[in-house]
Amino acid sequence: MTGHSCRRPTKAGVSIDSGWVLRVALPVVATLSIVVPLAWLWQASRVPSVYSVMDMGYHDYGVGATADTSSGEHAGHMQGDTPGQQMAPPPLVTDMVADPARPADVRVDLVARQQTLTVGGRSISGFTVNGTSPGPQIRARQGQLIEVRLRNESVRDGVTLHWHGVDVPNAMDGVAGVTQNAVPVGGGFTYRFVADQAGSYWYHSHQVSNPQVAGGLFGSLVVTPKAGIAQQVDVSAVAHTYGGVRTINGKAEDLRVPAQPGQRVLVRVANTDNGPMKVWTSGSYRLVAVDGTEVHRPTDISGRSVMLTAGGRADLEVKVAGDGGAARMQLSKATAVIVGAPGGDAPAPPQPSDELDLLSYGSPAPLGFDPAHPTRRFEYRIGRRPGFVKGRPGLWWSINGHLFPNVPMYVVRQGDVVAMHITNRSSEVHPMHLHGHHEVVLARNGVAATGSPWWVDSLNVLPGETYDIAFVANNPGIWMDHCHNLKHAAQGMIAHLMYEGFDTPYRIAGPAENQPE
């Protein structure tokens, strides 16, 4: 481009200097104006080889709803200062454990292995717990102390166990690099927590979680109420897709549940995939619990499906007809639970076009706190934009406009009533999962909830939707608040909720190679 540089026309009044500016300087400046910002963005997106989640992004103290009226009392909320805590060492996530002196009521040994699975006649490289996927179901009665001794036999990237939906003490949350180090091959970790919430839950690895959960490193956890359940048959149906093969409880076939005419059957459906799943039945049914919390006064449902978000659980009750027939419950179009006399069957019911709206299902009941006067309000705005994450260009998920790792750290104090406004401005559905807490849905798209209190730990947020949720900050520690499409989490859709003053001794990456997403 310099060979003919002297041949440029020199019009009257244009000096040699300005010609040089036009020929060389302007193109170079134009190029730099593209390259330099890109290089700067790339550089800024890189993360250190070892870091603490405490150093990620920025602290978001929310807006104190009462701060504007009584600024003195709540001023600290806005500043992030913690007077009186300056001298004492910060409390650590590891301090938050179940009573160590209390003996365990339920003891389980779990061994994680990396191995080939055979699912539906196909060989898939995956993971097992005690030799199977899903791993063994853990059952406990409400109030019992569960002790799980995990041993990693052969999972090369290391493992942890996260108790999805159970509000465990922080040190037991199983998030590699935040609440513990990943358990290396040959190592172990003991989880202890009191199962004080009855309901349907599941456990899964939270180290390199996307391939490990997709590959089968999970199982179900059922906590039965002290008083027992009202149904005569209690069965779990854990839906999972292994390399495109649809399964219930690890088998690529329908699940048959023998039951007598007139019996009520509780089917605990768990969606362990990365995408939402619809559930519907041939006759009528009731949705008796969502994410481990009972629905208050559920009514009969027919001609409608239930949307079960990724990571979510729905407990459905079906009644076996008196005529000796069977009821069929579709877990999507692909698989079904058939309830009734052995050998009985029912034709596959067509997929309903309508969906049950949990905003208005069941009857209202006291929440146990007043969400109308939150002490903190947060925004969780999901978007998608081009940029760099960890030095890689792409179209990335953003939280409040920021890309990972520059995401908000939501800061609360124990006892806060927290309101969060979730907005999905991206074009894909996001199953939002907050660890360690249950949140109640107050409104969707500005329409207030009128039915049973709708408590969730996993919330399906469709494109364009907004949700107003609230929870009580009553479980101190540092908790993930992320998308449970674990691919999205691996792409940086991870924020945290921390209690003021808390710290963690663990690090992301580093010698333990912690990689929670």
């Binding site: 302007l26 590959g215 390399g243 495109g244 649809r246 692909a334 081009p386 179209l395 364009g464």
Partner: protein
Amino acid sequence: MRTAYKVLAYLVAGEVAVQAMLIVWGIAGLGKWVNDGGVFDKAVIESEGTPPFPEVVGIIVHGINGLFVIPGLTLLLLIVSFFTKVRGAIKWAVVVFVLVVAQGQLGELGHDLPLAGALHGLNALALFGAAIYAGRRLRAVAAVGVVQPDARAATPVS
């Protein structure tokens, strides 16, 4: 630089053609798989490991091409255009760039708003045409050789 400009412009056009082929190949594979009894939903879209039907590769590569390769080529085309010293070269590189950005936005938006997907298809034709035209303009100039004042005047200004 002119050769580079020309090559990049034609590469963008070629990539648009490849994109059209890939996505229809993928969708056709999906149709065949569903015909054979496969059930396609979000759980399958998001599942890991071996794809349920081989033509999924078409959809995946369409995404990689659209997200990285074509924007990369377009950015290079824009940078090269600053040095070509041909009137209109920058303008047409900018046109291609804007159409690529719009194409990405429409494609992404189409996941939730299917009508945007229709515009994604239409915009592909505009992008293909603009990239071909950008390359052909340079060919005409290159045939003349070094740009003389009168040759510059002969360059189409549109």
